[in-house]
């Protein structure tokens, strides 16, 4: 799913942060990706390797931290792990009213010189 446009956006964000922090070379880019976001880490790696050519990120590596999905029950306030097809509160068996995390898609940290 649109992994190339995601990586292009990552390159923009990282380049801007690098310039703000007077870095001239990026060594690592670390992303946080929620497991419900629909983005495949394998495809991101593939897109990253292709898109960083000729940019400041050219020699950098990509780390991806997967964020597990967590829902919250409005009846008992319990927070519990959810999946696409299983969002029932283990206590009350009601459908989870809000997703606390799992849709993340952000640049967490960068390392550079």
């Amino acid at each position: 799913m649109h992994e190339v446009s995601i990586i292009q956006s990552v390159i923009e964000i990282v380049t801007q942060k690098a310039l703000e922090n007077k870095l001239t070379k990026i060594n690592n880019v670390s992303l946080k990706i929620g497991e419900l976001s629909g983005v495949m880490p394998e495809s991101l790696h593939f897109a990253f390797d292709s898109c960083i050519q000729g940019t400041m990120l050219e020699e950098s590596t990509l780390s991806i931290e997967k964020v597990s999905a967590l829902g919250e029950c409005k009846d008992c306030n319990l927070q519990f792990p959810i999946e696409h097809f299983n969002k029932l509160c283990p206590n009350c068996k009601t459908f989870c009213s809000s997703v606390v995390r799992g849709y993340e898609l952000y640049v967490n940290t960068i390392e550079g010189d």
Partner: protein
């Protein structure tokens, strides 16, 4: 070597534009639908039917998203409502910037309901909010009842789901009981409609529900900015 904490959303440019679009919709009290489905599920046909039934009472505008051609926009234009075609030129979804550009073509003071017909695609559009009040996903019976499980995100995020082409049900192996079971496990809060455009089935129910949503948005938007209102009521 130094490590820098960034914590910036990868989609931040899109999200900023979307939130500005949403603010405009709320200020003007416009109810906005992001209509999604795979290609050929009948989004445009449904829209034609809804427009023909609602246009006497509701001021409707439509944004048509397609990779290429103005075929859908021409069909909507024939209904006599303002329409803007966005051609993404191959991109798989609409985003905040495209919507912002399209909005410039409308007089938003004359719009109660804005329907954004997204690019036919069950995957990518689900990840891009457009500032809408509701996402509506259309699934047609010939596509098969397995689609919600295969493409969960879109069905998961939808406030309403329309099961279309009900007239073809008997010619397919679509299992309605399985469909309802799967939707219930994915998104128990979704309102579900069953429709057939050729048999004019379920469209009135959909329109009644839409009218209610549009009225609700108008009331809400009228009350929200008037902070002094409780004082006046006293």
């Amino acid at each position: 070597m130094s490590e820098i904490k960034v914590v910036e959303s990868i989609l931040h440019t899109h999200e900023e534009l979307t939130s500005r679009n949403k603010q405009v919709f709320n200020e003007k009290g416009i109810y906005v639908i992001n209509m999604m489905s795979s290609p050929g599920s009948g989004k445009t046909s449904l829209l034609e039917q809804v427009i023909s039934k609602l246009k006497g009472n509701v001021r409707i505008a439509v944004i048509e998203g397609d990779l290429y051609t103005t075929k859908d926009a021409e069909r909507i234009e024939a209904q006599g409502v303002p329409v803007v075609q966005i051609n993404t030129g191959g991109a798989c979804h609409l985003d905040g910037k495209m919507i912002k550009g399209a909005l410039e073509s409308f007089n938003l003071d004359d719009v109660d309901l804005l329907v954004i017909e997204n690019v036919g695609n069950l995957v990518c559009p689900a990840a891009f909010d457009l500032g809408e009040d509701i996402k509506i996903t259309v699934l047609s019976t010939p596509e098969g009842n397995d689609k919600p499980l295969k493409y969960p995100r879109m069905f998961e995020d939808s406030g309403a789901i329309i099961l279309n082409k009900l007239d073809l049900l008997e010619f397919t192996n679509f299992d309605k009981a399985e469909f309802y079971k799967d939707i219930n496990s994915l998104n128990a809060h979704a309102t579900i409609f069953e429709t057939s455009c050729v048999k004019d089935q379920g469209i009135n129910e959909l329109c009644t529900w839409l009218n209610h949503q549009i009225d609700h948005k108008k009331t809400r938007s009228w009350i929200t900015p008037k902070i002094g209102l409780p004082e006046m009521i006293k």
